[in-house]
């Protein structure tokens, strides 16, 4: 892989205003993802993981910093360059029930990216759509179906097919399984992984489920309140998380019946009600109010994302030891 074939976020910031206050959905996020990497971004609601994905796709405007795609600043791209970018980076959205236009059938839906991004002919689009369905393990008569005639799992497969229609190099999948039953989720994740391997394609899987992240990604980026708190290879993050928050997430991740659970039982600061904390109001580390390993400086100084050895990084003044 050539150098520069990466998506790089440099101090990217996005602000929202909700309920009369400003919230930094992304707060100076700097990460770099290779186009063939399979990464997962994990965090809870409000962590900014969805905003991260949408920012990379160019669907939200940055309030600070920049995002570069293959060395080019996306904020300065012209329309032609944006279309080129869209051909190479495609999303799969969270809600399969909502990602298909109710008034379009599957063929129309799959043809759209080919028509606008590839300038394909009608016949090409038809042929390509059929082969995509086959790839997804769907019958080709599904081309004529409308969304309400499909199940959630089928729709999500078709959403993936749409993303693949332009032969992209990178997929950004935002919670692709959260609206699906467990039994269908595995199928989608397996499919995504299989396609990535076959096509030498990278993806960024945004999820709140550590289990899903660990299952599908080689590298996990953990976010908390708009900041990246840890970024490591999957195996090492699961076995020895460095940031206390990561350890909590892993501790609460679903496990199979019969597997021993080692949950961090006592929560931070005992009398502090975790529900009553507004992390955006904290001056230092946003996790400090809930943290069991809180130091004095945690409440004052924002921890930087530092190398922790083994290629990983964590943003913590008092990280856990590597096992």
């Amino acid at each position: 892989m050539e150098k520069g074939e990466r998506i790089e976020l440099k101090e990217a910031s996005v602000n929202y205003s909700t309920g009369g206050r400003n919230v930094a959905a992304l707060d100076g996020v700097s990460i770099s993802i290779g186009l063939n990497e399979r990464v997962s971004v994990v965090g809870e609601s409000g962590a900014g993981k969805t905003t991260l994905g949408r920012a990379v796709l160019g669907l939200v405007r940055l309030d600070g910093g920049s995002i570069e795609f293959m060395g080019k600043d996306m904020g300065r791209m012209r329309r032609r360059a944006i279309l080129d970018f869209r051909r190479q980076v495609q999303p799969v959205f969270q809600d399969p029930y909502d990602s298909m236009n109710p008034t379009q059938n599957v063929l129309q839906y799959l043809s759209m990216p080919q028509r606008f991004l590839m300038k394909s002919s009608r016949a090409e689009m038809r042929e390509k759509s059929e082969s995509l369905l086959e790839t997804m393990g769907l019958e080709s008569d599904m081309l004529w179906k409308y969304p309400h005639q499909l199940s959630g799992g089928q729709k999500q497969r078709i959403a993936i097919a749409r993303a693949l229609a332009t032969e992209p190099r990178f997929i950004i999948a935002d919670e692709p399984t959260s609206m699906l039953d467990a039994s269908a989720a595995a199928g989608i994740l397996n499919l995504l992984r299989k396609l990535a391997v076959e096509r030498d394609m990278g993806y960024m899987l945004v999820t709140h489920n550590m289990g899903v992240a660990a299952y599908s990604a080689d590298r996990i980026i953990v976010m908390y309140s708009g900041r990246v708190v840890e970024d490591q290879k999957t195996e090492s993050i699961v076995t020895s998380p460095r940031h206390p928050y990561t350890s909590v997430l892993i501790g609460h991740a679903p496990v199979s019946a019969g597997v021993a659970v080692n949950r961090p039982t006592e929560l931070a600061g005992s009398d502090a009600d975790p529900d009553a904390i507004d992390p955006w109001k904290l001056a230092g580390c946003r996790y400090s109010a809930r943290c069991t390993r809180r130091l004095d400086e945690c409440t004052r100084v924002v921890p930087e994302l530092k190398e922790t050895g083994g290629g990983g990084r964590a943003a913590c003044h008092n990280p856990l030891d590597a096992e």
């Binding site: 039953d181 289990g211 299952y215 195996e235 199979s256 529900d275």
Partner: protein
Amino acid sequence: MSGIVELADLKIIFPTSRGDVNAVDGVTLSVEEGSVFGIAGESGCGKTTIGLALMGIIRKPGRSEGGIRVNGKDVSSMKDEEQRLFRWKEVSMVFQGAMNSLNPVKNIGYQIAEVIRDHSQVTRQKSMEMATELLKKVRLPATILDRFPHQLSGGQKQRVVIAMAIALNPKLIIADEPTTALDVVSQEYVLQMLKAVVEASNSTVVLISHDLSLLAEMCDYIAIMYLGKIMETGRAEDILANPSHPYTLALLDSNITIDKRGKKVESIPGYPPSPINLPRNCRFSDRCAFATSECYESEPPPTTMKDGRTVYCYHPRYEDGEG
């Protein structure tokens, strides 16, 4: 049998323009007093409908057939006022999505006091005192009383709902996906709260969830549902460790957990049939890896295994348990 909940071949049908939806299709079960009973299943399997039916809530034009006895009373034949007093006094409920189960235009104190006042002759002041006490039990400060639901976080609202559920010391508490929409840390906190409260009050709990890990942690007994029908029911640890019904097996296998990283998780093949005009054979047969011709012909009768569990299958997998 003398369980606190007795369901005898319960059917709940919602007529639609396309035909009758059999949300619950012949469920027989019994819940032992003082136990925690889990109902598991994927979306649309009828578990929430059962929860509501236990309180006598079947929205028109839905109707029920078969028996629902709670605390020795026939729920379906109660008169209006009798039913009203029965609700909450004897059975209360922690709702799925507490976000939306509080009245948005009234403050918390009013809403808790309202339940108390509508069921007993207490003064406004006394009921407010009781509300403060209840909030203390879920570790919420009295200042919450004057707040409106939109001013609280999800976890706080869920705890308010729990406080409300124990307000009248009911014999039975139904908890419908009590933690689904919460962050992991809040989830943990809320679960602790629920456990503590249940233990203190000596109530029976029916816990409805799709999260097998949660059920494994909380429940004494468990019922696995698929398309309005129980597939397997018995002690939680028995069933989750050694599933007997092929559906339970497949469900557990397809559940992505953190310990399954690097392994291949298989989803259940195919899609569930429509709940309208259900087939009169085993409803899992189409997707079952072990199905034989008899599975396609008639519905399997309940089989009681050695460890006391009941399985609705011609070919139970956990052979050792068979009596």
